[in-house]
């Protein structure tokens, strides 16, 4: 296609409300640039124009890391603490992923935190002995199905009866809170920390079990090769066929970044964080498990019709309706998938805490989930965002949580700090929305 400077479009832009540079800013640099240099320049213009992408969140992570590193006198970035941080962040990341499914539609799910609590309760109760003593995998599947069905019910109420999702899921929050209290009964807690009962132990090991260090490196090597092979064959293949493709330098850079991040994570996790006698090292199993879920959802949202329709509905519901898309079906499924993902974070929570109790603060967790999504760069107004953004956002939340805890800061200050970060993230979202053209159907 013509990549020449366009006379017509350029002059005509002046007649309209949009600033002249808008077209250049809003177009992602990777589709316009022919070389890495052009890409960097286009990217710079975009950042200057307010469309900053992942930059603020990476920037925030660096500042948080440096600040806590100084404040805790080197404790924060120690391998042992970093592994803890990864583990804590997993729950926030997966809750963020859950929220992104509905945020992309311009909806919200306030019940996700208590879906997490109920899911943890279901899975925990099902592996009790004496008790049901179900196999661990069946307990997980049951918990996920319950969560998915719950989400689907909210979805049906929202899409068929046209109730606002805020109210439906607020009611859902209360209902699931109550359900959790009923489930856990008088004991008020359930444990999966047994080392003798296999089904409990497997659940426990999801977070606390480690991949042997050598296997971690092998796994990373395989993963890197797969990623590199896939990215190169796709990007270079498209380039060869004359389709829009990122500059070759960018493809290489992406792969290098992936490999570097992988090496950093594996290296940190493989440091012995036990003692000389009891060696404790390796990547926690939860890391690759969350990666698999992430990959599944990325494929679903970026590479299938369903995903395309989620974005279309979030961008312009009327256009989607006229294109023959069933809005109700897509919305219901999105809520169901948000439920499943929240349920999955419940499994991680159960494993992380070695059990669950009536003390789970689902209201706070769901806000952390929304915060993770929004901090990562997902828009509250629908249509804009990527599931992978929950990873960075979750890390930010996890880092604040972890750092303040490490420093012995009282919980009230943790809440205030997290709230401030959330406000900052929404501010960035709103400002970038105002600065660019995204999301507005009225502007012609």
């Amino acid at each position: 296609m013509a990549k020449v400077e366009d006379e017509v479009g350029r002059t005509a832009l002046d007649d309209e409300v949009e600033p002249t540079a808008a077209a250049e800013i809003a177009a992602p640099p990777e589709i316009l640039a022919e070389s890495l240099g052009q890409y960097v320049r286009a990217w710079g213009r975009r950042v200057a124009g307010g469309e900053s992408g992942a930059l603020p969140v990476v920037f925030a992570l660096v500042i948080i890391a440096v600040a806590f590193e100084i404040w805790t006198q080197g404790l924060f970035l120690s391998p042992q603490n970093l592994v803890n941080l990864f583990i804590e962040s997993m729950v926030f990341m997966t809750l963020g992923m859950a929220e992104i499914f509905v945020l992309l539609l311009g909806e919200i799910d306030l019940s996700a935190g208590y879906i997490l609590a109920v899911s943890a309760g279901v899975a925990g109760l099902l592996v009790q002995k004496p008790g049901p003593d179900w196999p661990w995998w069946l307990a997980i599947v049951t918990a996920l199905v319950c969560s998915g069905v719950t989400g689907a019910v909210w979805g049906l109420l929202v899409s068929k009866l046209h109730l606002p999702s805020f109210v439906v899921t607020l009611a859902g929050l209360l209902i699931m809170w109550g359900v959790m209290l009923v489930m856990l009964g008088n004991a008020g807690e359930v444990s999966v920390a047994s080392r003798i009962l296999v089904n409990q132990h497997v659940l426990y090991q999801i977070v606390w079990g480690n991949i042997p260090p050598v296997a971690g490196w092998v796994g990373l090597a395989v993963l890197s090769l797969l990623f590199a092979g896939f990215t190169i064959s796709r990007d270079f293949g498209r380039r060869r066929k004359g389709l829009v493709a990122p500059p070759p330098g960018l493809t290489i850079l992406k792969i290098a970044f992936f490999v570097a991040a992988g090496i950093a994570v594996v290296a940190v996790c493989n440091v012995n964080r036990g003692s000389a006698v009891v060696v404790l090292a390796g990547v926690p199993w939860v890391v690759p498990i969350v990666l698999v879920v992430l990959l599944l959802w990325v494929v679903l949202l970026q590479r299938t019709k369903f995903g395309r329709y989620v974005y279309a509905i979030g961008g312009n519901p009327d256009a989607a309706r006229r294109a023959g898309i069933s809005l109700a079906t897509v919305r219901t499924w999105a809520f169901a998938l948000a439920g499943v993902t929240a349920g999955f974070s419940g499994i991680l929570y159960l494993s992380w805490q070695g059990g669950t109790s009536t003390n789970v603060n689902g209201g706070q967790y769901v806000l952390y989930g929304v915060a993770a999504a929004v901090i990562g760069g997902t828009s509250l107004f629908g249509g804009r965002g990527k599931i992978a953004q929950a990873v960075l956002g979750g890390l930010v939340i996890g880092a604040i949580y972890n750092g303040l805890y490490l420093q012995g800061v009282q919980v009230q200050w943790q809440l205030i700090a997290t709230g401030l970060v959330l406000v900052g993230a929404v501010l960035v979202d709103t400002l970038s929305r105002r600065g660019t053209l995204s999301g507005s159907a009225t502007r012609i």
């Binding site: 296609m1 479009g9 389709l243 009327d318 159907a441």
Partner: protein, 268 residues
């Protein structure tokens, strides 16, 4: 006044379509179409021919019934009486799908584009090509690029840029390209230049001519008479739900069209 008694049930190809140059079967014919909503009569006995490879402009003041007529052809409204003939054969359009299946596409004034999706994604919205369950982006991108090339839409920098980053004329072009991608034979354009500046308007009118040169029938709904006289081969005027004039553009001038639009008749 239209609705001459003889035009109630024309046999295909018969002189019922005398206004079209002989030998061409109009792509779409409306015969005596009535439409009312409750007590409001929106269309009275409207006859209209839309031939292939010609631009027919449908003019009329606000409330003249242009939108209702467009929606009847698009299958959104069903006429209360009268018939719609497609290539001479009577058809019943029960919904937009029926119209689309025949090859009738409508570009509405609001364009129905999702700003957050790119050009290719918008052009294939709802009709994505899928390969083993996954979207076949390569094939869709190639097809979209070819369609845009055929329509001589060369001003977009990349077909992977989000529609939000396009100018008004480019958005209109994408909406039109989206409409003609599907082997459509008749394209209805609803006020395509309403929100555009001078240069953008010229670009869209060029696009309309390209469509005609490709053999498509075009119905241009507009009350911008400058545009109408620039591209229309034929002009039809609605006044308060009745068709008051229809004929080759050469038979009209600016003043007569204005008179038809405002008073329903003209003194020539």
């Amino acid at each position: 006044m239209s609705s001459a008694p003889g035009s109630e049930s024309p046999t295909p190809g018969a002189p019922g379509s005398a206004l079209v140059s002989p030998g061409t079967q109009p792509l779409l014919q409306l015969r005596g179409v009535d439409k009312h909503f409750g007590a409001v009569q929106a269309l009275y006995h409207v006859d209209l021919d839309l031939p292939a490879a010609q631009v027919t402009a449908l003019c009329g003041d606000n409330g003249a019934g242009k939108s209702v007529l467009t929606r009847c052809i698009a299958g959104i409204h069903q006429p209360d009486r009268g018939e719609i003939l497609w290539s001479g054969k009577q058809v019943h359009l029960r919904g937009p799908r029926d119209a689309a299946d025949l090859g009738i596409e409508v570009v509405y004034q609001d364009l129905a584009l999702a700003d957050n999706l790119d050009i290719v994604q918008n052009m294939f919205l709802g009709r994505e090509r899928v390969h083993r369950g996954l979207l076949n982006e390569d094939s869709m991108e190639r097809a979209a690029a070819e369609t845009l090339r055929n329509l001589k839409v060369t001003t977009v920098r990349s077909i992977r840029q989000p529609v939000a980053s396009l100018s008004g004329g480019q958005r209109q072009a994408v909406a039109v390209a989206k409409a003609v991608m599907w082997n459509s034979k008749l394209v209805l354009l609803d006020e395509p230049t309403a929100a555009l500046g001078v240069v953008q308007t010229r670009m869209v009118l060029d696009l309309v001519r390209t469509l005609r040169d490709h053999g498509l029938g075009v119905m241009l709904v507009s009350h911008n008479l400058n545009d109408v006289f620039q591209v229309a081969d034929r002009i039809a005027v609605l006044h308060l739900g009745r068709k008051v004039a229809e004929g080759p553009a050469a038979d009209f001038d600016l003043q007569s069209v204005v008179e038809y639009m405002t008073t329903g008749s003209a003194h020539r």
